[in-house]
């Protein structure tokens, strides 16, 4: 992959990630968010957070399975989009559901299990967003940075349970997210377990670059 092409794909992700936001803003200003726009905004921004979290988590398995190492270059932007929509999700809850009341936002967040999980997911993403720059990766060192960024697993798991818990009865969609997440995490687990086993010398031969 040429640097130029990478930049173009990054632009593609940047633009496409903003499409849902643009449509939300457009629909809101044209009164087209349905009967309960407040709820629609909260739900949709939450859904976008989960979609981007899932996409972010899919990068490494995809890269390893396909051997397309350049895929890694898009992970940061996907992760930052997850954080961005997560922040919007929280702001929608704070403004529309809690009417800008800090006190009632805090009491609700501490009282409701699904909100504790949602807050956990969002808070877990903060250090990830903060340390997403190249400078921060250098400063922390790859090993420590990678360890810190395992928080993404916490965010994804807490986020999906948060979604599951607030559904009234039809849990099919949360279960789809849970299943995809289970596959992505399962892949890592299997990989980790395989790497811990002594590897035959032949398998240690470096693979040719794709």
């Amino acid at each position: 992959m040429k640097e130029n092409d990478i930049r173009f794909i990054k632009l593609l992700i940047l633009v496409n990630g903003a499409v849902p936001l643009a449509l939300l803003v457009w629909d809101q200003s044209h009164n087209k968010l349905g009967a309960n726009p407040q709820n629609f905004l909260i739900l949709t921004t939450g859904m976008m957070t989960l979609i981007f979290l899932t996409l972010t988590m899919a990068v490494t398995p995809m890269r390893k399975i396909t051997g397309l190492n350049w895929l890694i270059q898009f992970r940061r932007m996907l992760g930052l989009y997850a954080f961005f929509y997560g922040c919007l999700h929280f702001l929608c809850f704070f403004s529309l559901d809690r009417a800008f009341s800090v006190a009632s936002t805090l009491t609700e967040m501490l009282k409701r299990k699904y909100l504790i999980l949602g807050s956990t997911a969002l808070i877990a993403m903060i250090p990830l967003a903060v340390t997403s720059t190249n400078g921060m990766i250098k400063r922390l060192g790859g090993k420590r940075w990678r360890a810190l960024h395992r928080l993404a697993y916490v965010a994804a798991i807490a986020g999906v349970i948060h979604f599951y818990m607030q559904v009234k009865a039809d849990v099919r969609l949360p279960l789809v997210f849970a299943a995809v997440l289970a596959i992505l995490l399962g892949y890592r687990l299997v990989n980790y377990w395989r790497q811990r086993k002594p590897v035959p010398a032949a398998a240690l031969k470096p693979k040719s670059e794709a």
Partner: protein, 325 residues
């Protein structure tokens, strides 16, 4: 010797043209992908809208001033017909509130009958027309508070349930009234999934059922109920959460013991038998102190018994409403 692979200077696409073409192509890809994402977003987030063209209800009666004062007509702006008919909880058709109207379109209610039976002197299977002739339809403007913390103001057409119950002469042993929705997965596609235990059932205590505010409704905004709102006949109990208002009723059964009700059987710690609107008793997962009135921007405080405390408070005198939620 001339190198056959050598490309002459003239054959090379000029840099400007090359980059132009590339830029053009990329702009095309960018635009196409954004459109595709937009279309996917639209597909996944359909917003309900559509027309309601059910027949007008003849001879709609406006309640008297005294009745109005007794809670028959609330003096708050009515929710639009569009919102009332495109934001529905009716899992028999879809669990997506905006998806109920399209899923319920064309629901056939021809030959509808309602059986009123159980501990009564004169059990009877009513043809819908006969049931609706029991009393002229009255316009009742009620608040509707969903357990999900949103609310509407709905102009129903209907009459007190007590008029039907009196007609079949309840026995003194009848302490509760049990209601049942149609069970027909062919006509109600949501019943093909086991998201709830079908058929939907609800119940009231006898004194609740006899209260004049509890009505059987057959219309909204002066028109027959569209399928998504519970055609052809449904229960409306304005001081209780919306899920008590069972839709598309086929059976009313007078019984001695508290009947099984769908949501409280599904999650007994979250939905009680009484389900009276109560801002002081939270749903375990969310606060019931405020509500989103559909069509308004900010949130409203939720009122005790949904604002019908003066009318129905006495039914629950001395009861622990935290326990009997």
């Amino acid at each position: 010797m001339k190198d056959p692979n050598k490309i002459s200077e003239r054959e090379v696409t000029p840099a400007a043209v090359y980059f132009n073409r590339r830029t053009f192509l990329r702009a095309g890809i960018l635009a196409a992908s954004a459109v595709a994402t937009g279309v996917a977003y639209r597909q996944l987030n359909p917003v309900g809208s559509g027309k309601v063209n059910t027949p007008a209800i003849q001879g709609l009666v406006t309640p008297t001033a005294a009745e109005e004062a007794a809670g028959f007509r609330v003096n708050e702006p009515e929710t639009s017909l569009q919102d009332i008919t495109h934001y529905n909880n009716f899992y028999e058709f879809s669990t997506d509130k905006e998806g109920v109207a399209p899923a319920a379109a064309g629901f056939d209610t021809k030959g509808w009958q309602v059986s009123v039976e159980g501990l009564v002197n004169k059990p009877r299977v009513f043809d819908l027309d006969d049931l609706l002739k029991i009393s002229p339809p009255e316009e009742r403007i009620y608040r509707m508070r969903c357990v999900e913390a949103w609310s509407m103001v709905i102009p129903w057409a209907g009459f007190s349930l007590s008029k039907v119950l009196n007609l079949v002469e309840p026995l003194s042993s009848a302490k509760y009234v049990a209601f049942q929705t149609l069970l027909d997965p062919k006509r109600m596609p949501g019943q093909r999934s086991d998201v709830l235990d079908w058929p939907y059932v609800e119940g009231l205590r006898m004194d609740e059922a006899m209260h004049p505010l509890a009505i059987l409704a057959s219309g909204i905004y002066g028109r027959a109920l569209p399928p998504q709102d519970g055609a052809p006949i449904r229960l409306v109990v304005p001081w209780k959460y919306g899920f008590k208002g069972i839709k598309s009723i086929v059976k009313i059964n007078l019984v001695a013991d508290p009947p099984h009700t769908t949501w409280s059987a599904y999650a007994p710690n979250e939905y009680g038998f009484y389900a009276n609107v109560n801002p002081h008793v939270d749903h375990p997962r969310w606060s019931q102190a405020t509500e989103q009135r559909i069509g308004e921007f900010g949130r409203r405080p939720t009122l005790m018994f949904n604002g019908y405390e003066a009318e129905v408070g006495h039914l629950y005198a001395g009861m622990d409403l935290r326990k009997n939620f």
